[in-house]
Structure formats: structure tokens, C-alpha cells
Symmetry: C2
Amino acid sequence: MSTSAKETILAAARKTVQAHGYGGLSYRDLAAEVGIKAASIYHHFASKADLGAAVARRYWEDTAAELDAILAETGDPLRCLQLYPNTFRRSLEDGNRLCLCSFMSAEYANLPEAVQREAQGFADVNVAWLAKVLVLAGAAEPMGSEARARAIFAAVSGAQLYARSRSDVSQFDDLIESYRASGLLPT
Amino acid sequence: MSTSAKETILAAARKTVQAHGYGGLSYRDLAAEVGIKAASIYHHFASKADLGAAVARRYWEDTAAELDAILAETGDPLRCLQLYPNTFRRSLEDGNRLCLCSFMSAEYANLPEAVQREAQGFADVNVAWLAKVLVLAGAAEPMGSEARARAIFAAVSGAQLYARSRSDVSQFDDLIESYRASGLLPT
DNA sequence: TCGAGTCTGCCTAACGACAGATAGGGAAGC
DNA sequence: GCTTCCCTATCTGTCGTTAGGCAGACTCGA
């Protein structure tokens, strides 16, 4: 099917970028994984920069939907904040992968401008959602909620990065627990 | 001079890795920067993996010395904790560069084993120093000081990563301030 | 003291592998 | 007949790495 191929490419590329970065994303390897030839990818994406931007954009779109779903399902903002780190935890469980946005933040200087922009979208989505939920939970004043949200996002990203460097998900859990103990994350 | 060439290579390689990662480190570009030819680097380092490991090792050795110097000079553990984020801040000021260890943690899956090991050394040095200083400052019980130290290290790393993705050092400052306000960092 | 040999540091030239990208063709479906 | 989707074949560039040579500085025996 036609649309499925494009989606398969996007999904496979996302996984690769989370494991090896934008620089580690190769048309040949990606094509082999999807089951087509490298040149065929150009039918769906005009360039590697286009593909990278599409992957990053899809990534934050999916994340935005997922975060909203959590809030809608539980209806409990405090519970949402407790569940928040789980998204990052799952990447580690899935082959010790990193958040795509974190990887691209590291690679920032090597990225085409369009990819940089879309990668930032992920952080924006997370911060906006956290800020909203923090206010709903009464854990932050509306005025300072954005700053607090950014702090949580950055700290959780850092925890994921550290845990990845040890290939040890339990390190992530311990760090999140420390964040709670110190008051950064609500309990 | 003979030893100076090797040191020049190490220093230039460090800067490059902090900006473009291990994957972005090229013998040709590095050689051009140092003023010799690519093949000449092999006189000093047997392979790229060797060079990468040497760079990472030198990085944490320098950091260990620098951290100890801070403690020795100020003599005030609480002041040390306030100054701690400055090391990370300076990398951002210097061409929006990242901590070498953070970059290598992201690239973890692509690194030769020896490089992985040395990259972890930086985190170990930071955590050990922070744990020690936290206890000295009376900001943590000896038993829980390691966990707290790891949390601080991971959070500060995450702040640096976030600020880099915006090419904006003031974002780093704001995040550190938020860490202090929430109680993660002592005030 | 001098010549021979060795070590050091760098060079040119080239290898094979792989990168992103392009041209152009063939087959299926509307 | 035109679009969609994928193909083969190939281009250009860069990568890490190696072979082999050349010039200067060192060591050491005659």
C-alpha cells in the first residue's frame, strides 16, 4: 500500500534516530529495514533534511496527542505528573533509546535548519503540557509554571541521558525518585 | 615540539567533539585545524577509537582537577555547590558547546567500548565530587548523598542540553534558578 | 670527533567502504 | 495515458586507514 510505505519509513527512521541520531540515519540501512531500495525513499522524501524534519514533526505531534490523552483519561492532573516520566522510560526500555529531541539537541550544530525547528517542537509541546498540568494540579502559580515545566522537562531529559549511558533503566527510576524527594517533581 | 603536537590534537579534538560529537570528528578536518596532515595523526594515536578514548580521559582528568581546585580555593562547600553549574555554563558560552560526556552519552550506541568507558568517567568524577561536597555542606546525609549527587548532575546536564537546543545561555541560567527554587540545588 | 644507524614526526598517495543524491526505466492502477 | 511506486546503475564526496618515503635529531661505537 502506498501510504503505508511512507508511514513505515517514518517509523523506522524515528527508531534509528532515537538510537543513532540524525547523523546515524542512512538511506541505505533505512531502506533495507523497510524492504525497499535507497533511491525509492526519494519518492516519499525529497532529501534527508526533509525526512528528518518529517520524523521530528511526527514525533512531537504523536507526543502531543499522547500527553493530551493521558490528561483526558485520568482526569487527575497530579496523577499525570506522576506518570509523565514514563514516556521517557519507555524509550530506554525499547532498546536503550533516547528521546529524539534530546539526540537532536546534542546534534544541534549539525542539523539542517528545518530539522532544528521541528526538534524544538517536542520540547515546546512537553513544556506547554507540563505548565498546564502543573497549574491544574495546584503545584505551581500560573506565572511561574512555564519555568517550572522547563525545569522538569530538562531534568527528566538529563535523567534519560544518564541512564542511557549506563544502559540501565533502574538508574532512570532512581533519578526520578530523587527529583521527587528534592521537590522538583510533585509527589 | 613533539609533545605539543599531541596536546594540540587532543585540545582541538575535544572542542570538535563538544560541538559535533564523536561521529562528527574527522581526521582530515582535525589535522587541518592543527596544521598537519590526516595521516600524521596516526603517529600520535593508533586509531580514532584511541583518540576518542584519550580525549574523553583527558576531559574527566581535567575536570577532576578543576573541581578539586574549586573546593581547595574556596574552602566553602556550599559556595562550591553554587559554583558547580558554571563549568557547564562555560561550554555553552564557548560556541554553544555541550559537555563531552553528554554528547557521548547520546552517541553511546555508536561508540567503541573504550570510548564509552572513558566517557562514563566524567559522570563518575562529577557525582563523586558532588556527593562529597554535599555531605561537607550538610546538604545531604552521607547515605543518600550519591543519589542526590546523581540527580544534580543529570539535571544540570539536561539544562545544558536544553539551552544548547535554543542557542541561549540565559535558558541555562533560568533552569538552574528553577532547580534552586524547587530545592534540587542548595541555595 | 666523526660517521652510521635509529627514532621521531610529518609527508604524499592511495585503498575500500559508505554517504546523499540523481537519471532514467519498468510495472501497476486510476 | 498519466500518475504512483519502486527499480538499477551511477555520480561525487568523505570517511578511517595504510604503505612507504623523507628530513632532522638523537645515540653510540670506532
